[in-house]
């Protein structure tokens, strides 16, 4: 059927455009041990929610890399060198993404969290 052929062509076109425009940059995921701060998050129920949080966090000035842990409901963040970010800025970023921020824990001098 001609209409179904058009449908198949459309799908193929969409897929082709998508494949051609995604995943062009690859950066190793942030090692949790290297994170400077973790922010607990509520209401983050899917992989795309996690990606939204990651992208919004990485737009914040001073954030080098973010990694979301869906299992624990937290985002781990590494700062650019010598550029710590305030708790208020991190909380605001979580709210901007549409989620509820929880406890914010910075890494202490011994490598633990406080």
């Amino acid at each position: 059927m001609k209409t179904l052929s058009i449908a198949a062509l459309l799908l193929f076109t969409i897929a082709l455009v998508g494949c051609a425009t995604t995943g062009s940059t690859t950066k190793a995921p942030l090692d949790p041990a290297q994170a400077d701060v973790q922010v607990m998050i509520k209401g983050m129920s899917c992989p795309q929610c996690a990606n939204n949080i990651k992208d919004i966090m990485e737009r914040v000035d001073g954030v080098d890399q973010a990694r979301v842990d869906l299992g624990a409901g937290r985002v781990l963040i590494a700062f650019t060198e010598g550029n710590p970010i305030s708790e208020d800025e991190l909380v605001l970023a979580v709210k901007d993404a549409g989620f509820t921020p929880g406890e914010v824990s910075y890494k202490n001098e011994k490598g633990g969290r406080q």
Binding site: A7, T22, K42, S45, C46, P47, Q48, D96, F99, T100
Partner: protein, 278 residues
């Protein structure tokens, strides 16, 4: 008005949308929002098979709809949304001949305001939104009502562990249109939609720090009423695969209860959806 199919497809694909709505079934709008300053994109291709009876006799119709939906998060709670529905029709009347047409439905533009959000745990959440907008006339021959039709709605999304429940209601005031139309809500009578959905995450059972993809099965019950007395109930099972930067979905729609005299009857439909994060 003449529309060039390749040009319209090109425009739809290149629309400057950047992100997708998450964990949303195909036919029941969710209460989720893309986030402040973020664009969301969704593209669906639907094939629908209709039949009906007009004054000049019975007819059959195959219809292909290619819809691009774009949303922009004005704030975390307020979303501006627009839809671009392109349509191909293959119309056949046994008594006469076949005809094919291409055009654009009217263009819904709306605001979605999330007035309630309760995030209960790292995963569980309940959200509710109000929706309001207008369908702008496309002035596309055979496809446009050539009228401005306002609508209001409400949507609820609840996620609890691996389970997701959605509900949606919408009322549209039709101020134009023809007495006999092909699609629900396109005629002269006001249109009411009631949708319910259930979604179940089949994989993974538990999220971890390495989770990058989820697979869901979903089922929807879509109720359609019009003030001319027409009504139908559709059952829509489907599957959704959602990764961090893309999602793919497939669902079929089957009528389980139909009383339709003023428009074409849907026999069955299938929708493919692909979403990408750029």
């Amino acid at each position: 008005m003449k529309w060039s199919a390749p040009l319209m497809i090109f425009i739809a694909i290149l629309m400057p949308a950047m992100r997708t709505s998450a964990q949303e079934v195909l036919y029941t709008p969710s209460a989720t929002s893309p986030g402040t300053g973020i664009f969301a994109l969704r593209q669906n291709v639907s094939f629908e098979s209709f039949d009906g009876m007009r004054a000049d006799g019975p007819f059959e119709l195959d219809q292909l709809t290619y819809e691009t939906a774009i949303a922009y998060g004005v704030t975390a709670d307020l979303t501006l949304m627009g839809h671009l529905p392109l349509v191909f029709r293959d119309f056949s009347e046994p008594a006469t001949s076949n005809s094919k047409s291409f055009g654009m439905y009217d263009l819904p533009v709306m605001l979605k305001y999330r007035f309630f959000q309760k995030d209960l745990s790292n995963i569980d959440t309940v959200r509710m939104s109000l929706l309001g907008g207008v369908e702008l006339p496309s002035y596309s021959d055979q496809f446009s009502s050539e009228s401005f039709d306002p609508f209001i709605g409400w949507a609820m999304t609840m996620i609890k562990g691996r389970h997701g429940i959605g509900a949606h209601a919408k009322y549209k005031w039709n101020t134009g249109g023809d007495p006999y139309e092909i699609d629900f809500g396109a005629g002269q009578s006001d249109a009411i939609r009631l949708d319910g959905s259930y979604l179940y995450r089949i994989d993974p059972v538990e999220y971890t720090i390495d989770t990058t993809k989820s697979t869901y099965v979903m089922i929807e019950l879509n109720q359609r009423y019009e003030t001319n007395g027409d009504y139908e109930t559709l059952l829509s099972p489907g599957i959704l695969i959602e990764a961090q930067t893309w999602a793919a979905e497939l669902a079929i729609r089957l009528p389980i209860n139909q009383h339709v005299d003023h428009r074409a009857q849907l026999d069955w439909a299938v929708t493919f959806g692909l979403r990408f994060t750029f």
